[in-house]
């Protein structure tokens, strides 16, 4: 069949398909899309014919464009986002954490290990804190957690709008740290290990120092609430980063690029859970931790309850298969 005849016969179909594609690309759905797969396959067939019969480049290229656009629409990811998110929060995330327990353990050891060890060291040798944190920042911390000042956290009397400001600040700052800890894992895990240890040392230094100078009560009652979510989240972000690095170090039987690609798609899910944890942490830190009315005892109790909650969630949620997927 000559090209002109072929074009003449099918042009109407192509134009119709192109209009359908336009609508699908603009709105995501369109009337008459029920026959889309069949239409798409017919265009594929026309393209194959055109190639096989050696028709001109213009015809083949324009059919190719239509096939590519159709391919994009037919193989688009369509999923029920709310259902997915719910299933992930209720079961998927804790399952994933348990599945990756080796990396979670390694990352927790790096992070909490350096935190506790350095806190102990600073408590015993108080001058060590100045090796890590500049003196100006240390004195700033003193004013923040001074038990006589009657306020907690980073500022003076905090109005509701102040809480908002801190909420935003915590989101920006903490999720930024978590993202960095994760992403730098691509450098064979070294970046994640660095950020885990570095943040562990910083937090440990602050904790040890404030406890040593007698501000322990105000410091610990401030941090105990949100730390359950915040510290766990940093450790999990580190675990996701270490996982990336490990895929490059020990790819198993796959090529490195392939191993990285497969692992990365799992670890990014961990990061989604980490973001959720950090949002909760920022909320608690801005609105509950900064309150001064509840006594330290209540704060400790609530804090302990939150730690137990996080641990129970990560350990037990999603174990039964009745859980909504």
């Amino acid at each position: 069949m000559k090209q002109s005849l072929f074009e003449h016969r099918h042009r109407a179909q192509w134009e119709q398909f192109s209009l359908l594609l336009d609508r699908l690309e603009r709105d995501g759905k369109a009337d008459g899309a029920d026959n889309f797969p069949a239409d798409y396959r017919r265009i594929c067939q026309h393209l194959a014919l055109a190639r096989e019969r050696g028709y001109s480049s213009f015809l083949i290229d324009s059919l190719q464009q239509q096939v590519l656009r159709g391919h994009q629409q037919l193989y688009r990811h369509r999923s029920q986002l709310t259902g997915l998110v719910l299933g992930f929060v209720l079961a998927g995330f804790p399952r994933l954490v348990r599945e990756q327990w080796r990396f979670v353990l390694a990352s927790s050891l790096l992070f909490f290990g350096s935190l506790i060890a350095f806190a102990g060291l600073v408590y015993v040798f108080p001058d060590l804190v100045y090796n890590l944190i500049p003196a100006a920042q240390v004195s700033e911390m003193h004013t923040m957690y001074d038990p006589d000042a009657g306020h907690l956290g980073r500022s003076m009397e905090r109005a509701a709008s102040e809480d908002w400001a801190m909420f935003g600040y915590y989101i920006l700052h903490n999720i930024g740290i978590a993202f960095q800890t994760f992403a730098s894992g691509l450098l064979f895990g070294l970046g994640s290990a660095f950020f885990l240890i570095f943040n562990g040392l910083m937090i440990g230094a602050v904790a040890g120092h404030l406890t040593y100078i007698g501000y322990g009560q105000s410091f610990w009652s401030f941090v105990v609430g949100h730390s359950a979510f915040e510290l766990t989240a940093i450790a999990l972000a580190g675990a996701a980063g270490l996982q990336l690095g490990w895929a490059l170090i020990a790819p198993g039987r796959l090529p490195r690029a392939e191993a990285l690609r497969l692992t990365a798609h799992k670890s990014v899910l961990l990061i989604c859970g980490v973001m959720l944890f950090l949002l909760i942490a920022a909320f608690i830190e801005a609105y509950w931790s900064s309150m001064t009315t509840p006594g330290p005892l209540i704060k400790y109790l609530v804090g302990a309850a939150l730690w137990v909650l996080v641990a129970a969630y990560l350990l037990f949620a999603g174990r039964t298969h009745h859980a909504p997927e």
Binding site: G54, S56, F58, G168, L172, H265
Partner: protein, 241 residues
């Protein structure tokens, strides 16, 4: 007289030296995609960066009037714009951030399907590593050495930045009376002759004559007649309109 050593007719041509990337769809179609190189991607990123700066600047001026509440909203906005700007545009705007749209680029998955949430989030989170130690150093190295110009984030996420297809306009074939080729044409030869006719409007006369005269001998016509002869064969292949 231009003397050319034409390849023997049955010889297979070496694969063309170009950057095209073939995707095979489940329907068995090979779709050629054109990955975008470092320069055009850097330009697209620069446009996005400038745009983000502009958005943040304007919003901060507006939020500065709101005091502390504004500061909180400002931090959340800064977070959103710095980490989510690319992701949201890529997922909701068919893989095109404004900079990419401007430069005619888009992001897709390796298999040719549109980029999804996890791939887009991944490639944009890992941007942090691409920027190390300064000014996209690692990203540029990775992009320059990879056959499909992937930076590290693209490697991990399995994504690809390609040129978008521009809509084609039907080329005008030069008029000539249709005729038959003096010998049977292979498919490639047929496409080459049609391509010659379709692209003629964009070539200079001298070049057109030079190209056509290569084929004068096999067509058994004097070189000045070769162009008309080739156009005639092209019309003959197309058939009557």
């Amino acid at each position: 007289m231009l003397d050319t050593t034409a390849l023997p007719r049955k010889a297979t041509l070496p694969p063309p030296l170009d950057t095209r990337y073939q995707v095979e769809t489940p329907e068995g179609m090979d779709l050629p995609l054109r990955p975008a190189g470092l320069m055009v991607r850097a330009l697209a990123f620069a446009i996005d960066l400038a745009l983000r700066g502009l958005i943040l600047g304007l919003l901060f001026i507006a939020l500065a009037m709101l005091g502390k509440l504004g500061a909180g909203l400002g931090s959340i906005l800064l977070f959103g714009v710095s980490w989510w700007y690319m992701v949201l545009f890529e997922v909701f705007n068919q893989g095109r951030s404004p900079g990419k749209q401007w430069m005619g680029l888009r992001v897709i998955q390796d298999d040719g399907s549109p980029v999804g949430w996890s791939a887009s989030l991944l490639r944009n989170l890992l941007r942090f590593v691409d920027m190390l130690p300064f000014g996209y150093f690692l990203g540029a190295i990775s992009c320059l050495q990879h056959p499909n110009f992937k930076r590290l984030g693209d490697l991990a996420a399995g994504t690809l930045v390609i040129y978008r297809d521009q809509p084609l306009t039907r080329p005008q074939l030069p008029l000539a009376p249709p005729c038959r080729s003096p010998f049977a044409l292979t498919l490639n030869e047929q496409r080459a002759i049609l391509g010659f006719a379709e692209r003629q409007a964009g070539l200079s006369d001298a070049r057109v004559n030079e190209l056509a005269s290569i084929l004068a001998r096999p067509l058994q016509v004097p070189p000045p007649r070769a162009v008309a002869e080739l156009n005639g064969i092209a019309h003959g292949l197309l058939g009557p309109p």
